[in-house]
């Protein structure tokens, strides 16, 4: 049979990629090659945080699962790992919420509708939504940690009928730092979910709770022994939240965290994001608590 010279190599690379669990949405040849996406919408969320909606210049939309991330390449600035924060059932709009903290994210903040950026992904392990089936769900977010949890909240609400109580606990720095404020209000207005928001510092006319997000856990609204919990925020916050959930009776194997490390290649080759025996980019960012508990308590891992 007559085949093109590269076909055999491509087929072998595909097999290798499959073995390495490179996402099926990408061909084996291009996990390192960004696809061009156009900014369709640019919105400022907080003083240093913004959300962009992307659409591919060509080809099919990028499908993803909640909790996964993309590598976003800004021409002339570099590449950064950013979690996807849109609805997984509406992949035609690829949504990323970013905090401008470094050179690349600041360059990204300066972009506007119509600008083109490169996208590689999606990468990483997803939030296991199905682990919640038949249980109550507790989602605990700290600060900008709400962004990687938003696709999960969409997915949870999409399978609402299979779940018990659904509780979202969110801790922000101040009332002005509440991310996705309109959407959080809308969730709060639903009859089928409980939403509590607390702030570390009350400002203005805030009349809601003030204090650590861990305190919201004590307010209950879920049956701890029959609960799946998903946590994202600064590492210290996640440690304390995880402990508070465990103390209450949540099972360690139904408790999930999303870790943040310095992801560069996103496919487990470069080693920048190594965390103990794992690479956060491909073995994470979502980890089951009981598998990382000992590492979580150690520094410099």
């Amino acid at each position: 049979m007559d085949t093109a010279p590269g076909a055999d190599l491509a087929a072998r690379l595909t097999q290798t990629a499959a073995a390495a669990r490179v996402p099926a949405s990408m061909t084996a040849l291009d996990p390192m090659r960004p696809r061009p996406f156009r900014i369709e919408r640019w919105q400022r969320d907080l003083s240093d945080t913004f959300t962009i909606d992307l659409a591919p210049l060509e080809g099919s939309p990028l499908t993803f699962r909640p909790g996964q991330f993309n590598m976003l390449y800004i021409h002339g600035a570099g590449e950064v790992p950013i979690s996807i924060s849109g609805d997984p059932e509406r992949p035609e709009r690829l949504i990323h919420t970013t905090r401008a903290v470094g050179q690349v994210t600041n360059a990204m903040k300066a972009l506007r509708v119509g600008d083109v950026i490169g996208v590689r992904g999606p990468f990483g392990t997803p939030w296991p939504v199905e682990a919640a089936d038949g249980h109550d769900v507790v989602i605990v977010a700290g600060g900008i940690g709400l962004a990687p949890l938003r696709p999960l909240i969409h997915a949870v609400l999409a399978r609402r009928g299979r779940l018990g109580n659904v509780v979202l606990l969110y801790g922000a720095r101040t009332p002005e730092d509440i991310l996705y404020r309109k959407q959080v209000s809308a969730w709060r207005g639903r009859f089928d979910m409980t939403v509590h928001v607390t702030v570390d510092r009350a400002t203005g006319r805030w009349s809601g709770p003030v204090g650590m997000v861990t305190k919201l856990i004590a307010r209950g609204g879920f049956d701890a022994r029959d609960t799946a919990a998903y946590v994202c925020g600064p590492e210290i916050m996640m440690r304390h939240v995880a402990q508070a959930l465990l103390d209450r009776g949540v099972a360690a194997e139904r408790l999930f965290l999303s870790m943040e490390r310095n992801m560069k290649c996103a496919i487990g080759f470069c080693g920048h994001c190594q965390w103990g025996p794992d690479f956060v980019c491909k073995d994470g960012p979502v980890f089951r608590y009981d598998r990382v508990a000992t590492r979580l308590a150690q520094s410099e891992v």
Partner: protein, 156 residues
């Protein structure tokens, strides 16, 4: 007015007093009364005589401190099932902060003078109360330390 038996039942049902025997619950009920505060009412003021503590049954209380040029700053809020106040336990029995009802608050208050007298003669009661207050203090201290870290601040 709530009868002593009703108060006994109220205290018995509260997680803070879980595990106390009938004798001690009776002693507590003898020092307890129902309280109600409307939104905006101050429950106590910094420096005031700390002669009681509160078990919140409903509503939200802000623990505040007055800061020059900034007005009242809310340090934390307390809610249903939380306890409010421990300055009654140890001399000089003065409140350290203000406490203000953010919403309608229903609470049970326990008279500190009454309790301190009972704890003098019944050290076991004192032990049981201390064993319940220390974890609350520890939890508040932990929360305050984490709040102090300003975890969600932009990276420096």
């Amino acid at each position: 007015m709530v009868s002593l038996q009703d108060m006994d039942d109220l205290l018995n049902a509260h997680p803070f007093f879980a595990g106390l025997g009938p004798k001690h619950l009776d002693e507590l009920a003898g020092c307890a009364r129902n309280e109600r505060f409307d939104a905006g009412d101050y429950i106590f003021h910094e420096g005031g005589m700390a002669d009681r503590f509160y078990i919140l049954r409903h509503g939200q209380v802000a623990v505040e401190v007055k800061v020059p040029h900034k007005g009242s700053v809310v340090l934390e809020t307390l809610h249903e099932d939380d306890t409010l106040g421990w300055s009654w336990l140890v001399p000089p029995h003065h409140w350290t902060f203000d406490a203000r009802a953010v919403s309608l608050v229903r609470a049970i208050s326990l008279d500190g003078v009454c309790l301190r007298e009972k704890m003098e003669t019944d050290h076991e009661l004192g032990f049981h109360l201390m064993a319940r207050f220390v974890p609350v203090m520890g939890e508040r201290l932990r929360a305050a330390r984490l709040q102090m870290l300003d975890l969600y601040a932009p990276p420096a």
